[in-house]
């Protein structure tokens, strides 16, 4: 279980279990002299925190971050930044039959097949709680990127219901519990997810992350491609089953002329007439917005019984009681933003260092 670091120059190592005393991360490689306080990080943790609406799990924790090293008088010093969140809601609860049965589609099966260990207490490291530290690290990555780069996310599909992209308004994403950019879709999703929740079911979603202000030149040829790193980073988020850049899978149906982002000179700058490429060509950023999307499958924790097996090797019907999310895709939005911010910060440092 030894892969808890990501990034090359901006390196984040996360630690901690959902039922231990604390979770944390160490960020190594953050440049010196960058303004940074807990107040730069806390708002992003707050937006990821569960228990904020009927549509996310009811675990209630303040998730208060503290900076333990690497910052002096409000600025980074270039030394490793240690961030810690103390766990406060570790109540011992009755895991019941979940402790002995495997939920179809859940990591507990493969962890058990691989390690022969079963950490039924909240899933251990496979718990979504680990993503809190990704969000904290992402907030630091945003400071590295600076104000010129803006990384924002939105939920663009819930179950079968996609948004109308013509109504896209970023301001909307902060005024509804779904990070939905299309105001008119919100009541539809409320109704739909309310039904899903009441029936004890769950549903998938698609998240879109957009980074504006990314300078051209981030990324490197062959195996250091910006889009390859984004794909790995987003695929590493719990429950993600697909990643695409720009128009993604839709480009398979395009002809060359349909796919080409025509260009012309606008004064001395190159202006693009479209962004099917999602801001990346040959693994290197073009200067256009970087656009990535990922599919989140429905959670396997639900009240609907499913045929499964247990530790004893018996056939069972499994049902998951207790707090959980009808649509884990909602909380994946700030996590996706954080992962993209971390990848971009890493590549910005590589690019500055002329090493990719």
């Amino acid at each position: 279980m030894s892969y808890n670091t990501f990034g090359h120059l901006f390196r984040v190592t996360t630690w901690g279990e959902s039922h231990g005393p604390a979770i944390g991360c160490v960020i190594d490689g953050c440049p010196p002299r960058i303004p940074l306080t807990e107040a730069d990080i806390q708002p992003f943790l707050d937006s990821r925190r569960p228990g904020q609406s009927a549509f996310t799990t009811q675990r209630r924790e303040p998730d208060e971050v503290s900076i333990e090293s690497g910052v002096f008088e409000g600025h980074t010093t270039g030394t490793p930044i240690s961030l810690v969140i103390r766990n406060t809601d570790q109540r011992s609860k009755d895991y019941g039959e979940i402790a002995q049965t495997f939920r179809p589609g859940h990591a507990d099966l493969t962890y058990y097949l691989k390690y022969g260990i079963r950490d039924y207490r909240g899933g251990g490291r496979s718990s979504a709680r680990e993503t809190a530290m990704r969000v904290a690290a992402g907030a630091v990555a945003r400071r590295v990127l600076g104000d010129a780069v803006r990384v924002r996310g939105a939920l663009v599909q819930v179950g079968p219901h996609g948004i109308d992209r013509d109504r896209w308004d970023w301001n909307e994403t902060t005024s509804n519990p779904f990070f939905c950019p299309d105001r008119e879709t919100v009541p539809l999703w409320e109704q739909y997810l309310g039904d899903i929740r009441k029936s004890g079911s769950s549903v998938g979603a698609v998240v879109e992350i957009v980074a504006d202000g990314v300078p051209p030149g981030l990324g490197a040829p062959i195996y250091g491609k910006l889009d390859a790193d984004i794909a790995a980073a987003l695929m590493s988020i719990n429950a993600v089953k697909g990643v695409e850049i720009g128009d993604g899978f839709a480009t398979a149906a395009y002809t060359g002329p349909e796919n080409a982002d025509a260009m012309h000179m606008d004064g001395r700058a190159i202006a693009f007439e479209s962004n099917h490429a999602g801001g990346i060509l040959g693994g290197i950023s073009t200067g256009q917005p970087v656009v990535a999307r990922f599919a989140v499958k429905p959670t396997s924790s639900m009240l609907t019984p499913v045929p499964s097996v247990n530790v004893a090797g018996e056939d069972v019907q499994v049902v998951t009681k207790g707090r959980h999310d009808p649509c884990v895709g909602i909380r994946a939005v700030p996590v996706g933003e954080a992962m993209l911010a971390c990848v971009l910060a890493d590549h910005m440092l590589r690019h500055r260092g002329q090493i990719g």
Copy 2:
């Protein structure tokens, strides 16, 4: 331009330009005592080689591989394996205006933005020629995986035309120039791609790679996930814009019960009733077939004129003459197979070493 290695334990470093004397790779980390000769590698290179039908570029080279080290008396010794292919078709040709203009959607723009260098001679390292060494390395990876694991690929969509999955027959993939598993779709694609080629256009495609016989337990939690590594590996292939595992983006529209791969005991083994997960849960293989798909955008090299700019900062209409592929997705099939084989070999060695 310093990222020419991929893999952790099974590490492949590729080198060489399409217009230099040779291309090659060094495979470090291949275990000893594995049977290996050139004859294990050559057939895969032959299947990737261009010039085999009217639907791929007409560059004609034998692409004959030689093993320069790491093999003694027909078996690997555990030392680095050096593979070399001499370039034979390096004719100096007239690149014409392509030498000065940027093709919309091509890496030559971002390479130039980043490095200020323009290698118009066949694209330098961004050339698809680099993928020949991926295929060679993939052949070695297959020997590491052994006969119990079978990695096969198919083209499942060309432009807007997908196959009928009910007619899927792996045997078909070797008897048509498209790696198409659906015999009835072949004439349709022939007609469609013939028209595309005649009109000087190009078109995208979707490739599916399936690995049978993958043992459970490959992969690791958090940032060493099997699917994250697959996503990066496939996204690193030229022109790829999207990657998905199992049902991928379709799972966003599923409910939990629809997505759950129900299980029951079959004797002492776990039997799955479906494989929406594509053989991976929580970043770790389940023992079911690993299924990955990727979208290849249409090549930017085409006869259709597109508004663009040139090195001098002028507006131009760009047209690409000379040999090229109407559908680069076709030749991406053996490359995708090779990348999946390499990732699986890497994870199999990690798993054996109890390190992920």
Copy 3:
């Protein structure tokens, strides 16, 4: 300042400044199911702690370690182990002229030349305080190595005064403040170091670390050699200027027959008649004790004035007041043990995983 991790499979990332709220480390790659509590770590921290005799610096801190993750019911779980020590003795003090002048031989000069930042508060990350976390990590490494492997250190030279190796007794090392294995040398060093301390001077030392019970086969050819990793690990300790394995520099004067460790069969095992090689041949352990030595230069913090320069670019005479060690080599003994334990644990995991 972004290199705060060492190790390949057993990876330790340290963080924290001597004047911040805490110091800590994250150990990633520790195998599961190993018994581990704070009581396994604390004794080693206690032995490194300053302020225990007149011969080490008088900073007094309990250095109490707590395990924040990775351990459940007294055993490791395979997830990252987070260790933390709160700083309690961060009194703000008058650094006086040291804040503006460079001590000849101290890292503050090169840090300033490189980063243009001057962390006069106890040296920041160049402070020996960082080595506390190395010792903590080393204690965990010992648990990975198991009881069959014993890593012990001794001080074998202080200034010009070496021990008599014929009187070597490991039991002595725990009963004098110098980790000295030769009882008769202790009063000599007491007298000598007492004089050095009174005169406000400092002196160098040589530390020897011996690991018994190391199985044959640890290490790997070419660039993964056990001795190369030991050399880097020991050279990374503050103030170390030389590293040798086995008879080290003395072998330069040997002839081949003098250097050869003759062998014979002892039943079915190979028995060696000497250990000039220090337990390593061709970068791989032989099964004999691994013997490494390193030279520690005298600290640059002393009362003797030395010609130097200050931040303003003026010639000055520099004198260091305040608490410090007359012989930093003493406290380097447990640090050296810890580094060797970490390298051996790392290589034991690589060896188990058949990856070097």
Copy 4:
């Protein structure tokens, strides 16, 4: 056997066996636009080549290097540089009893203990032939460092006979077969090594490498220290048992004032009055010459019989016939230079990239 790469940004992967068709290396991370041809590399290979005097092994090969990629019109392009030397002297010979017995002090024992494989054909990867590619890579590293940095090596001790440092003259190193910087020591060594050779014995040596013109600031705190990387690089050379920086082990006997390199301002520059530190403080270069020394043990290949064991587990007396070096330390001089050049080039790129 999977550790065939060294370096972080300037990365060298070597491949090839002494009895295969060729040996080679791939250098990834070399910056673009650096002038480079075979003529920049060949002289360094020539100086390492055996068979040039009675004091080195008689294997005669031209060791002619060719550049296979990464260079266009006499300049690097930033893409991987592939270097190849064809083996021409692979005569099959009678290894006799060496094929079955272990030489005390030779890597063939530990390779066998670890891998259970015995490559008696010239030692396989443990052969000194691998160091030819280190020398080739070192020549490229010198081009990266540029003319302002000069890396030179000398033999300073052969067996018990050291040079007189007061007579040090770099010009002498190229006019005798020992790289000896002290003209008056040459006849002594000739006599001594002639006797050693005639008696079929061997002897150790000490090599010193000095790099002038190294800018201040190379290296990084904690685990990215310049001296730690040098220590690992030099210790990875065949037969090396000790490494020291500056005055090395001698500093253990110094007092603080003796060790301090006093400084004063010389105009606006800092001038040092001595260089006990060997140009490195706190793991970072000071701007003074970087001085490193390493001890090479006598080779285990000699005519003197030594008690040993064989593959069958029997006691034997082992004697090595055939070509070999009475003092392998001689040929280690260009290898040591190359390793220091590679480490410095790596750190220069890291420093430029502000990443250490």
